[in-house]
Point group: C2
Chain length 319, copies 2
């Protein structure tokens, strides 16, 4: 049930024909500002605009051929939705995605463009898991969970394998790896991959304040729920509690977690556009926000940050 | 005087400690749209936000130690300015940059931030070459030309070496390489590097309509001047004639050139932001514009595009 390093390696082989081998690139503008050497893993350039395609593609590839025709069902605010929809298209499977009616427009349009059927729900009133379960039962379809699934975690971990390959190629030794975290599939999968590949770095989750369930759970030593409350601008990072399978990995593999404010997320998005020429959505910029806000002591260290997604409704104009 | 493949290799060794090893990344959104396999060389992520740092860094590294204290002088609308200013900072040399007073604000601010002294001129009235020559004479400083110089061409060519390495790693064989072109330092250097590295692709210049001196010169078989006229939004691509040394290479190495309109440039910038999550300045998006506008028949081919710069005055807001 808890994935192994071998599961991440198997995932990498499964998704290689379909996923983008995203780059790790050094950012001199961040080096100058922080006194660290900073490398960015650009999951904004992944198919569908976020890392979520990795997990979805691996999970769907694991569904036996004779069970594929009934299709898949997922619930998601947008990035997992697009990941599952795009992976279903790759494997010729029907997909139904249960999405909040306030999901960012590009995420909803993207999901529809990959050919998925969208069922909308009210984020505050409806139980999306119940809606998805009912659709699964009716269609005999496979539910593709957003994070708490060995196949999903192993798929997201392939980003960590690539980071390990690239730092070897660059001849550098990582001290810190920062990854945005909602339910924790990405950060736990990446930590699993890095450890298996022999990279001994502190891997840290970065969450929005008040949605920092991973940070609180790591401090408590068991899964606890973050207080939540007013919605964060990081629509992709609002899971209140890390997944159970995720936490089995996280409690052993992660260094203490970090949390950032909405203002820090906005500043990081603006910095990414102005100085790095990269668009990141609020949640996708969380690790960058933690670095820029000094949430971890980076000076003199070698740091990798995951820019995990870029699917926001940006207005971009020449001034 | 005309650089060789060995000069490009020497340049790569010189700039390696200072320049970003920029990524080549596949773009599924472009594959789906064009029926080609499209790879992007992200020079927007180069130090200073454009490829120009490569040539400047190589050229300055070639100045003998005992001639460095008098510094360097350059004229540029902005990207070469920042490249020279940043390279001068690396080598501890003073730099004076002659810039048009209507240069994009981020380019002027960036140049100043690297510690260069800026001398402004009027793009329509003043002779920037005469101004730069006078400053050089007064200071006994080295003039760093924007493109028509073997050291500059070899430096820009290092981007081509990296493309060749990366396509080998990906196991693909390029058919077409498209590069934005002003005086032609980048496209000729890249063509030289690719040929030397054994990549047999059509390498094409992409210029703004009416500033397509390279395209016209290749058609004529000798250097001719483009008509110019109304300024293009591609402020970085307004050289009317390819360089003389550049053309010695270009006439033998380049496939027929392409030209794009301002509207096509704007559409390419919008596509880059919306679909690729990448910011490109108007000139930096020229090769992408040519692909999107169907200026070359890409279907079924393997294409590399250089996104050459990202230094525009963007307003980026969440909607």
């Amino acid at each position: 049930m808890v994935p192994t390093f071998e599961d991440v390696q198997a995932a990498a082989a499964r998704i290689a024909p379909h996923a983008v081998r995203t780059p790790l690139v050094e950012a001199p503008a961040l080096n100058a500002l922080t006194g660290a050497r900073v490398f960015l893993k650009l999951e904004t350039l992944q198919r569908t605009g976020s890392f979520k395609f990795r997990g979805a593609c691996n999970r769907l590839a694991m569904i036996p051929q004779d069970a594929r025709s009934n299709g898949v069902v997922a619930f998601s605010s947008g990035n997992h939705a697009q990941g599952v929809a795009a992976a279903a298209k790759v494997f010729g499977m029907p997909a139904v995605i249960v999405m909040p009616s306030d999901a960012p427009r590009p995420k909803m349009e993207g999901t529809r463009a990959y050919g998925a059927t969208i069922v909308e729900y009210d984020r505050l009133r409806d139980d999306r898991e119940a809606i998805a379960a009912a659709i699964c039962a009716e269609r005999q379809a496979v539910l593709v969970k957003p994070f708490d699934d060995a196949g999903i975690i192993a798929g997201q971990g392939t980003a960590g394998l690539e980071i390990a390959e690239d730092v070897t190629r660059f001849g550098v030794t990582l001290d810190e790896v920062l990854a945005p975290c909602s339910g924790g599939g990405l950060v736990s999968g990446v930590a699993l991959a890095l450890k298996g590949a022999g990279v001994r770095a502190n891997v840290r989750s970065v969450e929005p304040e008040n949605f920092d369930g991973m940070k609180r759970s790591l401090e408590a030593g068991h899964r606890v729920k973050a207080p939540g409350g007013a919605l964060s601008i990081a629509d992709a990072l609002m899971a209140p509690t890390p997944g159970a399978i995720v936490f089995e990995l996280a409690k052993d593999l992660l260094a203490p977690g970090l949390a950032v404010s909405d203002d820090e997320l906005k500043q990081a998005m603006a910095f990414a556009a102005r100085e790095l020429k990269l668009l990141a959505e609020p949640g996708g910029a969380a690790a960058l926000a933690a670095l820029l806000a000094g949430k971890t002591d980076a000076r003199g260290k070698i740091v990798a940050l995951i820019l995990s997604g870029g699917n926001a409704d940006f207005a971009v104009n020449l001034q």
